[in-house]
């Protein structure tokens, strides 16, 4: 599953402002709402579900990356966003490091395969240090989009 299949381009942020976990999640969900990818009436429910998932265990998986996510009945296909925090956010990550790269995913209720494939793609690309570095240094959403396109075209050899 390529980034183009699930990342909403208009929601990408190169300068996440939030300074804590809940703030980061809210800011990214807001960007999906503004992009028309989630419904306004479902916004609070989606936030609550993502935060509930975080209670099971942080999605800060190490190496400065977090993948907050939830399943939700209001979406009929996987939707996601990417955000970069220059300052870093304390996400209670597995390795104790702050998070700079976020991929937030909202999946339909009964399509675990799509969610896993998206995670697989995200992880494969982020194994590449160059890709990670470029993402963290991106100065604009357009730059991030370009990097995602290059990754989809296997230009990072991941």
């Amino acid at each position: 599953m390529k980034f183009a299949d699930f990342i909403a381009p208009e929601s990408i942020s190169a300068s996440l402002q939030a300074i804590d976990k809940e703030g980061a999640i809210r800011e990214m969900a807001q960007s999906l709402l503004d992009a028309g990818r989630i419904e306004k009436t479902q916004f609070d429910s989606i936030i609550k579900a993502i935060l509930k998932r975080e209670e099971l265990g942080s999605t800060g998986i190490g190496r400065g990356v977090a993948v907050p996510h939830t399943k939700h009945a209001s979406v009929d296909k996987l939707v996601g966003t990417v955000a970069v925090s220059k300052e870093g956010v304390d996400f209670a990550s597995l390795d104790g490091e702050t998070v700079h790269l976020f991929f937030l995913l909202v999946s339909p209720m009964d399509r675990p395969g799509d969610h896993l494939r998206a995670l697989e793609n995200i992880s494969r690309q982020l194994r590449n240090d160059t890709f990670c570095r470029f993402l963290k240094q991106a100065k604009s959403p357009a730059e991030i989009q370009l990097l995602l396109d290059e990754a989809d075209n296997n230009q990072f050899g991941s």
Binding site: R53, L56, G57, S58, T59, I61, G62, R63, V65, V67, H69, L94, P112, G113, H115, L116, R117, L119, E120, I122, S123, R124, L126, R127
Partner: protein, 94 residues
Amino acid sequence: MVENTITRTVTVRNRQGIHARPATLIAQLGRRFDAQIVLVKDHERALCTDVLHVLALGLLAGQSLTVEATGPQAEEAVEAMARLIHEELPQIED
């Protein structure tokens, strides 16, 4: 003394496959042992304590993987990891 590598093949049984939460549980378990534990799917290898690499294996329900451990606690590590993946993960809902 030559260190042996202990291996065990297991099947992923939880319906949603090895997504973020199982991968994190695998990493947390791996840190408890004095052993290097590697998960192998086809020819791809992932150090179990690296969640990103484990997720990159893209393990779906029904797929097989091999758990390889080397080190003083290799046997216990393989047993525990196989039990986690084969028995315990299916009982955990995400």
